[in-house]
């Protein structure tokens, strides 16, 4: 049978993580259909129909679907579910909120956050914040799977011409009401998706000293992270926390400054492509995961680092 992927979008554009999820979904079975639930979301349905991996787009449109309310999305998805062997979506806050509600009503034990498709029913997923990998096989008839977007490349977005069909509306929930969404307006990239992340730990000694990190983040167009120790010490707010109990990040470049490398921090960043550690303690565990370690006092090293960056003719953005 076919795979149904639930698209995430803002009614105008497809969210990038949906494209990564499409890649994984078409590895499960290449008869991939995408469900777009939204308000005036025709441009979304159209752009998804042009993704070559997508064989069919089902578009359900109504004013009640302007915002993501899992209680409103779920009955629409359940109506479609009988035709599919797999229901999938991205494992970000969108999919994490939505998929278990669908799975429970299908009486399916969900497979969360897969990083590899081994076969139609067998997947690889990280447990213990990536400190172990589990190979799991779903024995449920209908499978509900969420996909870690950063583990799959985004699907190409042009060249396809899937048909778009209209799907059926259902009644909205009376128990949940959307009030507002405050998008964090920042010139900086989001921590979870940034290409470069620079993080500070307890070694920063104060919140004030984070300005050394900010200056480099500005230069590199990087997101700013922190260890739990820095957050607990009050240097920075906990939305910056990288680690098992914070955000898990996989940037191209991760720069850990004044971070010793507690297990809980490593769990949140050790899958980064290139890791730099700057620490004055040469024995700090962070060096064991670093591609480039610099044993130095960060208060000397950071201003110099900025100086060196300023000397470069070009910096990748």
């Amino acid at each position: 049978m076919s795979v149904l992927l639930i698209a995430e979008h803002n009614n105008k554009e497809v969210k990038p993580f949906t494209l990564n999820a499409i890649t994984a979904a078409s590895q499960i079975n290449d008869d991939l259909h995408v469900l777009v639930i939204g308000k005036n979301a025709d441009p979304v349905a159209k752009s998804l129909s042009e993704v070559p991996n997508v064989k069919k787009v089902i578009h359900v449109d109504n004013d009640i679907y302007e915002n993501y309310i899992a209680e409103n999305y779920t009955p629409v998805i359940l109506k479609q579910a009988e035709n599919y062997s797999h229901i999938v979506c991205s494992a970000n806050t969108f999919g994490k909120n939505l998929m278990p509600r669908i799975a429970a009503l299908l009486d399916t034990s969900q497979v969360s956050d897969i990083i590899k498709v081994i076969s139609e029913d067998t997947f690889l997923r990280p447990i213990y914040a990536g400190n172990a990998f589990a190979t799991v096989k779903s024995t449920d008839k209908k499978k509900c799977v969420t996909i870690r977007p950063t583990s799959f490349d985004p699907a190409p977005t042009s060249g396809g011409s899937a048909e778009i069909v209209k799907g059926e509306n259902t009644n909205p929930s009376q128990n949940t009401k959307f009030i507002k969404k405050e998008e964090i307006k920042s010139d900086r990239p989001e921590l979870g998706t940034a290409r470069i992340v620079i993080s500070g730990g307890r070694g920063m000694q104060s919140g004030e000293n984070f300005k050394l990190i900010t200056a480099i983040a500005d230069k590199l167009n990087a997101a700013i992270g922190a260890s739990r120790a820095a957050v607990d010490a009050g240097y920075i707010t906990n939305d910056h926390q990288v680690g098992q109990t914070g955000k898990v990040v996989v940037p191209d470049l991760y720069i850990a400054v004044g971070i010793s490398g507690a297990i809980q921090h490593l769990a949140g960043m050790k899958e980064s492509k290139v890791i730099v550690a700057i620490n004055k303690d040469g024995e700090a565990p962070i060096f064991s995961v670093a591609d480039y370690g610099l044993e130095a006092d960060l208060f000397d090293a950071l201003p110099k680092f900025l100086e060196e960056l300023n000397k470069l003719n070009t910096i990748q953005k």
Binding site: T93, A104, T139, T245, I275
Partner: protein
Amino acid sequence: MKILVAVKRVIDYNVQIRVKEDGSGVVTDNVKMSTNPPDDNAVEEAVKIKESGKAKEIIAVTVGEEKAQETVRKALAVGADRGILVKAPCTIEPLAVAKILQKIVEKEKPDLVFMGKQAIDDDCNQTGQMLAAILNWPQATFASKIDVKENVLEVTREVDEGLETIEVKIPSIVTCDLRLNEPRYASLPNIMKAKKKPLEQIDASELGIDIKPRIEQIKVEEPPKRKAGIKVSSVEELVQKLKNEAKVI
């Protein structure tokens, strides 16, 4: 108002996980266990709501082996009034936990159910949403702020783009983010008092539901190791390596 808080006993977040050589799982013998961190936030929030006079009773519940009652005792020590341990085998999937909690909800009739957004062992992030689904209750996941109003909760949620605020009718399920509050420590006198608070034990097999795993764990392995890196001697060298060797800046 009555609040049910679900807590889970997991390997402490500061422990280095070791994978068993036979690939059957991770080593849990002689390993420090504690309450799943965001479950502490869930307990804290319930206690705060009770302290504000908006809730009368807090019940802490866990599902797991005999020892999991430590987690309930800890919740009792920070302010829950009574506890429930539902005894079940170690491997129990979120769907089964949700079905067990459904039975507890039917019996206890709470107005709110709180729990952490995710357990740091299996990292599933499912139980709260699944419980909401089978009870047909609204769900407010990843909560970083909860306002208890007349018959409704206004909940601020941590989402990828920033913050989202929704209103859910009571009864409802809330899964808690670490940003929700700062969990308090239990004082010694309160730990002593908690030992006297009632803790009911129920065997999951008495609840008449199917809790058999549906997901077969084929193997657990160590993630691929990173190859050893190098130490650079100066900032200049570091920047040159990043530019010309790693090509990331």
